[in-house]
């Protein structure tokens, strides 16, 4: 497996040129080649949703695609969403609604819900529960995650009104 392929991937608005084995998972590429370890790997078979990143604007499980498939595409990881001193309203809402405990699954939830809220700025609880049903959280029982998303929707629409 010494064959490598040159790729050019834009992650968090920076373009990286790398030469990778075709079998390298995107999740491993982000974590171990680019040292963006905020993307967490929970199952590596596409069920838990922890490794979700935003791929050309859509949530995507980075454990289910190869790095070479990201050639020429744009990726946003949790590190690129917002700086720690100026959080995205959804991140801020996770704090206020206690939407995280161990925090391992959290980046995946956030990056699943950011595009969701863009498509559906006024979701119902049922819609939110459906939208996060592909992400597993073992700590929170989901209730406070749902509340955090609803709180974020309020914050974001209030901000738009201003």
């Amino acid at each position: 497996m010494s064959q490598t392929i040159d790729i050019s991937v834009t992650v968090n608005h920076t373009t990286y040129e790398r030469s990778v084995e075709p079998r390298m998972l995107l999740s491993d590429f982000l974590r171990h080649e680019l040292c963006l370890t905020g993307t967490h790997v929970g199952c590596e078979h596409g069920v838990c949703g922890a490794c979700t990143v935003i791929f050309d604007g859509q949530p995507c499980r980075s454990c289910l695609i190869f790095a070479v498939q990201a050639d020429g595409h744009e990726i946003l990881t949790i590190e690129g969403l917002a700086p720690i001193d100026n959080l995205h309203p959804l991140q801020q809402s996770f704090i206020e609604a206690h939407g995280l405990q161990c925090g391992f699954c959290t980046p995946g939830f956030i990056l699943t819900m950011v595009p969701f809220l863009e498509r559906n700025p006024h979701p119902t609880e049922e819609e939110i529960r459906q939208a996060i049903s592909g992400n597993i959280c073992r700590c929170t029982g989901y209730q406070n995650i749902v509340d955090a998303v609803m709180l974020a929707a309020e914050k974001m629409s209030a901000a738009q009104r201003v």
């Binding site: 370890t37 969403l81 161990c102 925090g103 391992f104 049903s133 073992r138 989901y142």
Partner: protein, 781 residues
């Protein structure tokens, strides 16, 4: 003392880092020259190891080393016994058999480690695992818990006469005469199957042996870094100060990340010392199903003797407990089961014989609940069956049997998991039950709602169960608190954190004592270089044992602050107040000094620190409870069953919890929500399915079903507070409370929802399919 922070919904200090990808987890550790390990694991559950050929693996480019038990030689020793019965324990048979780093001659469960490959990348290491040729001669597998004890069964450990790992009988009063005098005796067999903890983060270890400094640093996803450090030092021939174990942020624990000395936990540091290189191993999800500990399998033969009016006269509970292939964790789980098999009730007579059994399955160690859910399932189910037989309401029969408040401390007359006398320290159960019944709308549902729904052909049912949770056991924890020159407060404690909010709830305790903001309290936990006395985060003990150690330490620092400030400001101590990071003379606010300035004064560059005094504003304190604090709670729910699919829809879920003084209700409620979610999995979705060859058939998250947001309902939480008299904060643990009673609750509510089928549920976990099968069975008979 009035509290500004304790008891308040303070937002968490740790969240911003976790929300931005800046918190360090073990898999994030990246060291120069680091090598990666993959394991060859057994496909068979029980097999003789005939030979291994590693030559092809060794030749693969990028492979640095391959290890087998033969190559390890004398270093391949079984892990230490962790919590075996003490020699003073009477009438206890215990055969200690512990896991080895690599299989020496016989495989005892599928997934056991046979060889370790070290390579430049994980990809290459996994390729090389495939190069290894291993010759395993399959043996008959010990899979069924009862058959395991038959004289003709294959033996997991051939040096023993049978698969019996432990045997013990506990008695209270005289069950036989209670039975003879009873109006009713109910007898049932109750079975409980296996589940996984399935933390979202799998296990992982990075070890870095610094040959020049003779120092080993280990990052480990452990709930107990200090015992791991002590054990590693002893097993690797090092002094404790040569080993630093760090448990950074952990992606959930739930029990299996406790002090295990998993094979990998021993091997990775050992390999790092052999190769003088940083070594990393990160478990994948499939390995997590085959190598991380599991729990809950028990078979109970239970009797409950009662009077005609529903008073329990006695309980007899003889049960088998499946420990899997080894029993490093002693009797913790089955003793917890015994400790909870009388529930929250005043049971005068009790007889319980436990038998722990070896099988060719993954080792059993505590998972959130740790034997308690089984005990509670048994007693709550038996009460439900008794209530039906006696024509009593399930809530009423519970109320009649609660331990009354004037009987505390209540001596159970048996020993607990720590081999100490089991005593319930305090409690007031009736108000909790009444609050729960009110919140769920019990009377209204039973009288009006349910008849209306039934008339519409709908199957809605209600359940109400109670539980106790023994928490906060010893031996002790400690903490060191330091006022720093920048005015911030450093807190170091030994317990690690897996999401419980320690950075915040412990900070609240300190902030109240020292008059600072919660944000100015900086906690370091789970790093043996910072604090190296303690045991770990288990048994719902963080807020009780570590919380009170931190409280004591903060009080000692407060006393030092007041003494020095009194000298500096020339005012008596009793006139001083600590607020906003300042010490002020009450009524003369401008006469004040900041904590940072005081800390500098306490650590002078000139002059003398007088004999008998210490530099700095720092104190270390410990707390060890006489015995555990016992929490109580009631869960109630209304569910509706779709009788076509047997899917359930939980319409309402209520938890009322009494865990003593609440440090942070927001964090407590979060713990309860998550616990209930895991309990719902245990009750209706999550089951590890093993076949007769002890092969696990559903080792993926696609096949092992963890509840998602569409299965877990909104949970209404109510509180009562009966402070524990055993510690100054008055706290009791709550970490496992959410999980413990859920299977019992499901069973009651399902029976209540399906009256026409006259179901009697005496097993868990269930599933839609299983409920359908039970109904079919019922219809056939």
């Amino acid at each position: 003392m009035a509290t500004k922070f304790v008891g308040k919904r303070v937002q968490r200090n740790e969240d911003p880092r976790l929300l931005t990808g800046q918190a360090l987890f073990v898999d994030d550790v990246d060291l120069a020259g680091m090598l990666h390990v993959a394991f060859l694991r057994s496909d068979y559950a029980h097999a003789r190891l005939k030979s291994i050929d590693i030559s092809a693996a060794q030749k693969r480019p990028g492979v640095v080393a391959v290890y087998t038990a033969e190559i390890m030689g004398d270093d391949c020793q079984p892990g230490p016994p962790l919590v075996s019965p003490p020699p003073t324990a009477k009438n206890v048979l215990f055969n200690s058999r512990r896991q080895v780093p690599l299989v020496i001659d016989k495989v005892r469960h599928a997934g056991e480690t046979i060889a370790a490959v070290v390579a430049e990348s994980r990809y290459i290491a996994e390729d090389a695992v495939e190069d290894i040729i291993v010759d395993l001669e399959p043996l008959a597998a010990v899979s069924d818990l009862e058959k395991a004890l038959s004289p003709t069964s294959a033996r997991v450990h051939e040096d023993l006469d049978s698969n019996l790992a432990a045997h013990m009988v506990q008695e209270k009063g005289d069950y036989a005469s209670a039975r003879a005098n009873a109006d009713v005796v109910i007898k049932r067999r109750i079975t409980i199957d296996r589940g996984a903890a399935a933390a979202m983060e799998n296990r992982g270890i990075v070890a870095d042996w610094d040959a020049k400094n003779h120092h080993l640093t280990v990052w480990d996803t452990t709930q107990a870094p200090i015992p791991i450090r002590n054990g590693l030092a002893s097993r690797l021939g090092l002094s404790e100060h040569q080993v630093r174990v760090i448990a950074p942020f952990l992606g959930g624990g739930f029990g299996p990340k406790m002090m295990m000395f998993y094979p990998e936990e021993m091997l990775i540091p050992w390999i790092s010392m052999k190769l003088a290189k940083p070594i990393k191993w990160i478990e994948d999800r499939r390995e997590n199903f085959y190598a991380t500990t599991q729990e809950r399998v028990q078979i109970h033969d239970v009797e409950m003797a009662l009077t005609r009016d529903g008073r329990i006269l006695g309980i007899s509970d003889n049960f088998l407990h499946d420990t899997g292939a080894f029993d490093p964790y002693g009797l913790t789980i089955p003793l917890n089961t015994q400790s909870h098999a009388m529930g929250a009730y005043d049971v005068p007579n009790f007889h319980s014989e436990l038998k722990v059994v070896f099988t060719n399955k993954v080792i059993s160690t505590p998972i959130r609940g740790a034997g308690r859910p089984q005990g509670i399932y048994v007693v709550e189910r038996m009460l439900d069956i008794a209530a039906k037989e006696l024509g009593l309401d399930p809530v009423e029969i519970r109320k009649r049997n609660f331990i009354p408040p004037d009987k505390f401390p209540y001596e159970q007359e048996i020993i607990d998991q720590a081999f100490s006398q089991l005593i319930f320290d305090s409690g007031n159960y009736l108000p909790v039950m009444e609050k729960a019944a009110k919140l769920i709308g019990y009377d209204q549902f039973v009288r009006e709602e349910q008849p209306r729904l039934r008339a519409e052909g709908r199957h809605a049912g209600i359940g109400v169960v109670s539980f106790v949770e023994t928490t906060g056991v010893g031996p002790y924890e400690g903490a060191r608190i330091t006022v720093q020159a920048n005015g911030k407060i450093g807190v170091a404690t030994g317990v690690g954190t897996q999401g419980q909010g320690h950075y915040t709830s412990f900070a609240q305790v300190v902030a109240d004592q020292l008059g600072v903001d919660v944000r100015d309290v900086q906690l370091v936990s789970g790093d043996t270089a910072e604090f190296h006395w303690g045991t770990g985060t288990f048994a719902s003990r963080g807020a009780v044992v570590a919380g009170n150690a931190i409280h004591e330490s903060a009080k000692a620092v407060r006393a030092k602050i007041l003494k020095l400030a009194s000298e500096t400001l020339g005012a008596p101590e009793e006139e001083l107040e600590l607020e906003d990071g300042q010490v002020r003379v009450a009524d003369i606010p401008h006469q004040s000094i900041s904590l940072g300035e005081l800390a500098s004064l306490a650590n002078p560059l000139r002059g003398a620190v007088e004999p008998g005094s210490e530099p700095g504003l720092e104190a270390t304190a410990y707390f060890g409870p006489k015995y555990g604090a016992t929490a109580f709670g009631v869960h109630a729910m209304i569910l509706e069953v779709d009788v076509e699919t047997m899917m359930v829809n939980i319409k309402k879920y209520v938890v009322v919890e009494d865990c003593g003084t609440i440090l942070n209700p927001m964090i407590l409620e979060g713990q309860i929500h998550g616990g209930v979610a895991m309990g719902i999995g245990n009750a209706f979705y999550e089951k590890l399915v093993y076949d007769d060859n002890a092969q696990l058939l559903n080792a993926s998250l696609a096949d092992y079903l963890i509840p998602s947001a569409t299965e877990v309902p909104r949970i209404v939480v109510g509180h009562e507070e009966t402070p524990s008299p055993l510690n100054s904060l008055g706290t009791k643990g709550a970490g496992e409370a959410g999980t413990i009673p859920v299977p019992a609750l499901f069973a009651q509510a399902l029976e209540n929802a399906l009256p026409e089928y006259k179901l009697e549920i005496v097993e868990t976990p269930l599933s839609p399919n299983r409920v359908f099968e039970l109904i079919q069975k019922k219809e056939k008979t």
